[in-house]
Amino acid sequence: MKYVDEFRSGELARALASELEQAMPPGRELAIMEVCGGHTHAIYKHGIDELLPRGLELVHGPGCPVCVIPVGRVDDAVSLALEPNVIFTTFGDMMRVPGSKGSLLDARSRGADVRMVYSPLDALELARANPERELIFFAIGFETTAPSTAVTLLQARDEAISNFSVFCNHVTIGPPLRAILDAPELRLDGLIAPGHVSAVIGSRPYEFIASEYGRPVVVAGFEPLDILQSVLMLVRQLAAGRAEVENQYTRVVRENGNPRALEAIEQTMELRDSFEWRGLGSIPRSGLRLRDEFAGWDAERRYKVPGLSVPDHKACQCGQVLRGLVKPWECKVFGTACTPERPIGTCMVSAEGACAAYYNYGRNRPTRRDKIQA
């Protein structure tokens, strides 16, 4: 594979891979979850998985903002987009996610004014430019993205922009990790924690994984060497019987995160009693909603949304992929009925989805390693 060859030529990568080989505790099989979809993408793009020693497996986690949104919330978004006089704005990937009655893209072809934005600020700008229209922003993402929505809401309030509202689907990273660690079907030895979420929340919120579950955690950057080095740090902890939270990404992540970003979230949002996740079901106190002070900017309070829990497409195994139970290529519709061009599930839509990453980098069949392990 091309990428592997290029990457293998890196002296540092080779050195790290050989250190990793030596650090492996003899006779043990290790499963390490890379929580973040950005990491999944980098791993398959650069073929990092093929550099790992035998007995060490990387398992994909739920850290893909688009992937975790359940069908019911997509249906709610479609319903909001079809409201009269509304301009519905969303990040690009979310447009193509199928709901039970089609995607936002389908809603657009039925006459809804659905537009792609790069930033919530662009949605606010559209509200300023179109005072006679109602602007709704489809907010998704973990703590990396929530501060951006929060600052945009503060700005809307300060400027008294009343034709702007947010359909809030922000989620927090801790609760789904707890749900995965509590699940009996999957045995994980350690976790690679997401870098940019941690730039906001810091490394401290992962402490429970070490203290309550006895699993080591390393917060990692997104470059191939970052990931490889983080795996090495985890393996060293495991070989030494340690379970600590370590930070490989010190150039961006601090223990306490970004206080201004946390403050903006705190000012505008609060935890919901419960939020439904694709594949993980309803998880208590895992999603964010707007505070009462921001009710005027809350699309869920300004409009009637169906608010139903809708099961995934029968053939779709995104849920199991997100929990690390099924590899993308093990799903029956992978690469056949479900492709990036005509996705059935979210994991095939987003560039950070495990299925899209496998598919785009030619992994539409098991790799040599997968065959050996199977």
């Binding site: 792609m116 930033s119 919530p120 600020l121 700008e125 940019h196 730039a199 470059e223 903006a264 950070e352």
Partner: protein, 95 residues
């Protein structure tokens, strides 16, 4: 979507509203510096995520990351395409 992209501040627009113009992989657009500690300075490198400077980074690291991101292909290209598509619209207003 979770990608933070290194960008250089090329113009301070409104210190009060904390807006600046940043060069993100060759595309210039308005970013918010509301999440940075203190005021953004001309020439500074920051990590930009959905139009917000999430944190400061040093130049050397920024260049290394940019190189790696461009090697990453599709995810980076999609992110840049989004910024490019949005740059025209947002540069009219917020300043």
């Amino acid at each position: 979507m979770c990608l933070g992209i290194p960008a250089q501040i090329v113009e301070i627009l409104d210190p009060e509203a904390k807006t600046a113009k940043a060069d993100i992989g060759g595309v210039r657009r308005i970013v918010s510096c509301a999440l940075l500690e203190g005021e953004a300075q001309l020439g500074e490198w920051v990590l930009v995520h959905v139009g917000f400077a999430l944190d400061r980074i040093d130049e050397e690291q920024a260049n290394e990351t940019l190189q790696l991101l461009s090697d990453m292909g599709e995810a980076y290209e999609r992110e840049l395409a989004g910024i490019r598509a949005s740059a025209g619209e947002s540069s009219k207003g917020a300043a």
